[in-house]
Symmetry: C2
Subunit: 160 residues, 2 copies
């Protein structure tokens, strides 16, 4: 899994706690998370294309959430950044080799692929149930509130 997924989720979590009328540029998001700005920008593009964040240009531009945190699931972010292609790819090798039959005999998907895809669906279901809003309450409890204070101070700093 691409590292950008982790960055994207953290960015959404940060944007979720910002006032609605504040947008953060990619450079600020990168600074806050300590990651390369140029590369993070690429992933933010993907989030923007997927309709998860909104982008504004110009002097006071930047990124903000396009939807309520409750309406953004982890699956949305994963699909936006890593693509929504299936992880397991069936190359239909049962149709190759000396025991192969006419292609018309293989109407149902390969049982191996079905089992792999079912497991993958369980993974996607779990991700779909967890939203950015759910994460926020957990994150706040895991770390001393001092972190929120420092974050707010930094936000004041860069907003000046």
């Amino acid at each position: 899994m691409s590292e950008g997924v982790e960055w994207g989720i953290h960015c959404c979590a940060l944007l979720a706690v910002l006032p609605d009328d504040i947008a953060l540029p990619a450079s600020r998001l990168a600074e806050f998370h300590g990651v390369p700005a140029a590369y993070l920008a690429k992933h933010l593009q993907a989030l923007s294309a997927a309709g998860i964040v909104e982008s504004g240009a110009g002097r006071r531009g930047g990124y903000r959430l396009a939807r309520h945190p409750r309406d953004i699931s982890l699956l949305d972010v994963v699909d936006a950044i890593d693509g929504d292609t299936r992880v397991f790819r069936c190359s239909e090798i049962r149709q190759r080799g000396p025991a192969a039959l006419d292609p018309s005999c293989y109407r149902k998907a390969c049982g191996i692929a079905r089992a792999m895809w079912a497991a993958e669906q369980a993974w996607r279901d779990a991700l779909a149930q967890q939203t950015i809003a759910d994460l926020l309450v957990g994150l706040a409890n895991d770390v001393p509130s001092e972190a929120a204070v420092k974050a707010a101070a930094w936000l004041q700093e860069v907003s000046r």
Copy 2:
């Protein structure tokens, strides 16, 4: 996910329906599935190292299952070939940037990582529940029995 996972599962399924005293060399397994022999050999090494298949050298050597098909799960094969490392890697970016606190404050794992890992566990659980033996009954029902006849004929051919 590596393509070798698909090959490994198909190989286990084929070995599972062979008589116990028959071993198939990597070259025959590759021929049956229509895949590159040299590359399949590499994945069979991984299955052997994981104790899923047994290898025998010499004139009548080859691979056979090391355990009963009921005792080989899809997760075993996936871990053997793709490695058992977590798909989502947490780089602890919450400890970086201007809002970072002392490392001792982060005793619990990051909530984002916990959510991602929980979903991953659901995926692993689903794979662990499905065994090679479970697959065999499905595969037999999906395809006309003619395939089994052709497979048996081919086996006779190469065993001569």
